[in-house]
């Protein structure tokens, strides 16, 4: 179906065992967390057994692995849902742009939903129960907390990978429209989300205040925000984009960013 694979055969299927292995590996999603790619390398770590089974051609594997090293961040419990969908797409050798688009489009919303559901609701409830028992010196407190919490936790991890995978398989079968249309749709969706992520995730504000006699101009709220909200995040991302296009290495950009952060802090403008 797709053209950008050396080996376009799509007859490999992932077994339940395969999926379980991926779910186990998803536990290390944040092993190599960092502020440039966030969970990317951990995400790829999780996918590896599946990708190796699907892409027997080394060049295809390389392409796929490279794609999955791109920026990734989502909620660590819901990640297996995305893993399932993506594995279905990989296995069907969908257009790589489509795979990327779907990945990017799902990670953002699931991140927010997961945070609300698990970090801000499940955790306080179960830990609250545990702590109130523990407070009375009852050792059942921590145990009950761990049990309650992890039933949901592991239930989701192993349930969602299957759900994602079969949903993906089914969706692909229904969409017989060739790879071009799907990847166009995925790009539209994905880039809308990236536009939103830039404004939401890139945390770039200046604290600079220009004082002249009586006048006091807070650069961020009195000037920049009036021109455009999230102006600095947007500008900086575009700048990084151009530097990358001009061949600058991402490493250089990190060094620049770190220096800017430290110097900006020293001069009290960031």
């Amino acid at each position: 179906m797709a053209s950008n694979y050396v080996d376009p055969s799509n007859d490999v299927k992932l077994s339940k065992k395969d999926l379980n292995i991926l779910a186990w590996r998803s536990l290390l999603l944040q092993a190599s967390f960092n502020y440039e790619r966030m969970q990317a390398a951990g995400w790829l770590y999780g996918l590896i057994p599946g990708l190796r089974k699907i892409h027997r051609n080394k060049q295809d594997l390389s392409k796929s692995m490279k794609d999955h090293m791109e920026f990734f961040n989502t909620h660590p419990f819901l990640v297996t849902f995305i893993m399932g969908i993506i594995m279905a797409m990989e296995q069907n050798k969908e257009d790589r742009d489509a795979i990327r688009g779907i990945k990017v489009a799902t990670m953002g919303p699931l991140g927010g939903i997961g945070d609300a559901l698990f970090w801000l609701t499940l955790l306080p409830i179960t830990a609250g129960i545990g702590a109130s028992l523990a407070m009375d010196g009852n050792i059942a407190g921590p145990i009950i907390f761990l049990v309650l919490f992890n039933i949901v936790h592991f239930g989701l991890r192993f349930g969602l990978i299957r759900y994602g995978y079969y949903t993906g398989i089914k969706a692909i079968q229904q969409l017989k429209e060739g790879t071009k249309q799907i990847s166009r749709a995925a790009s539209i969706l994905g880039l809308s989300v990236v536009g939103g992520l830039i404004a939401t995730y890139v945390n770039f504000k200046t604290t600079a205040v220009i004082k002249t006699g009586e006048a006091k101009v807070k650069l961020q709220t009195d000037l920049l925000d009036k021109i455009m909200p999230a102006l600095l995040p947007l500008t900086y991302t575009i700048l990084m984009y151009y530097l990358l296009k001009k061949g600058k290495s991402p490493l250089t950009l990190i060094v620049i960013t770190v220096l800017m952060g430290i110097i900006g802090k020293c001069f009290n403008v960031l």
């Binding site: 502020y35 990017v104 955790l123 166009r184 790009s187 990236v194 536009g195 999230a230």
Partner: protein, 253 residues
């Protein structure tokens, strides 16, 4: 004391990993409290100190990678000192806070300096060297373990005053500066994404998503819904057009 300090440090290493990986939440104060209590032979104080810290730090969870004060080190050291100094468990909170905040800085530092390693990972991916990718992740785990191990060991073994002095060596502007840089750094990740995703045809949607988030303050889910709506519309529009075209060609024949 050495044995206890080593055991606690071991536990800190495991819990520190669990804070980001595994996420069974054995790292929460309510659990670490009882474990530390067990090691130091005062389960009851451990339980209560842990529970106290748990309730205080209820909402302290990392959202979108932003680090709150570190509950692992805070919980462990707070409980340990409460037991060692035979203080009321409530005192744990006071001791825990400076450590939790200092380690928050260190984690931010780690997440910043680990970024360059990703370019090694890129190379491995390029070469389809999956073992390399795995090693990088294991390296990450190892660093986390060692860090938490050392950080927990020192103050327990040498006492908190010495430890706090040690922690204060790192200048504030440096940690804060890194933290600022960490906040900005996703821009590089997005720029790399854009490098592969962005075609002239799709700039429109990048603009749209940005406006929806920046001006209208929509959460990402709402943006994804609007993006889906457009993608669906576009999909069927082109499908209809293609159908018409085909029809004509058939008509023509």
């Amino acid at each position: 004391m050495l044995t206890e300090a080593l055991l606690i440090a071991l536990w800190a290493g495991i819990a520190g990993i669990d804070l980001f990986n595994g996420l069974t939440h054995i790292h929460r104060p309510v659990v670490t409290g009882v474990i530390v209590g067990l090691i130091l032979g005062d389960i009851k104080t451990g339980l209560i100190a842990g529970a106290t810290l748990e309730l205080v730090w209820m909402g302290m969870v990392p959202l979108a990678g932003a680090q709150p004060p570190n509950v692992v080190i805070g919980g462990i050291i707070g409980t340990a000192f409460a037991i060692l100094t035979k203080q009321d468990p409530k005192v744990a909170v006071g001791i825990a806070v400076p450590f939790a905040v200092a380690v928050q800085g260190l984690i931010t530092l780690l997440f910043t300096v680990f970024a360059p390693v990703m370019h090694k990972a890129d190379r491995f991916a390029e070469e389809a060297n999956y073992k390399g990718i795995e090693k990088i992740n294991y390296l990450g785990l190892a660093i986390l373990f060692v860090m938490y191990f050392v950080i927990a060991f020192l103050p327990i073994y040498f006492g908190s005053d010495a430890a706090i002095k040690f922690v204060e060596i790192v200048p504030k502007w440096f940690i804060n500066g890194l933290s600022v840089a960490g906040g900005i750094m996703p821009a590089i990740g997005f720029a790399m994404l854009l490098k592969v995703m962005l075609k002239k045809e799709y700039v429109a949607f990048l603009i749209l998503g940005f406006v929806l988030a920046a001006y209208m303050k929509l959460p990402i889910l709402a943006i994804a819904l609007i993006g889906s709506a457009i993608a669906l519309y576009d999909f069927f529009l082109n499908k209809n057009n293609a159908a018409y075209r085909e029809e004509e060609i058939n008509d023509g024949i």
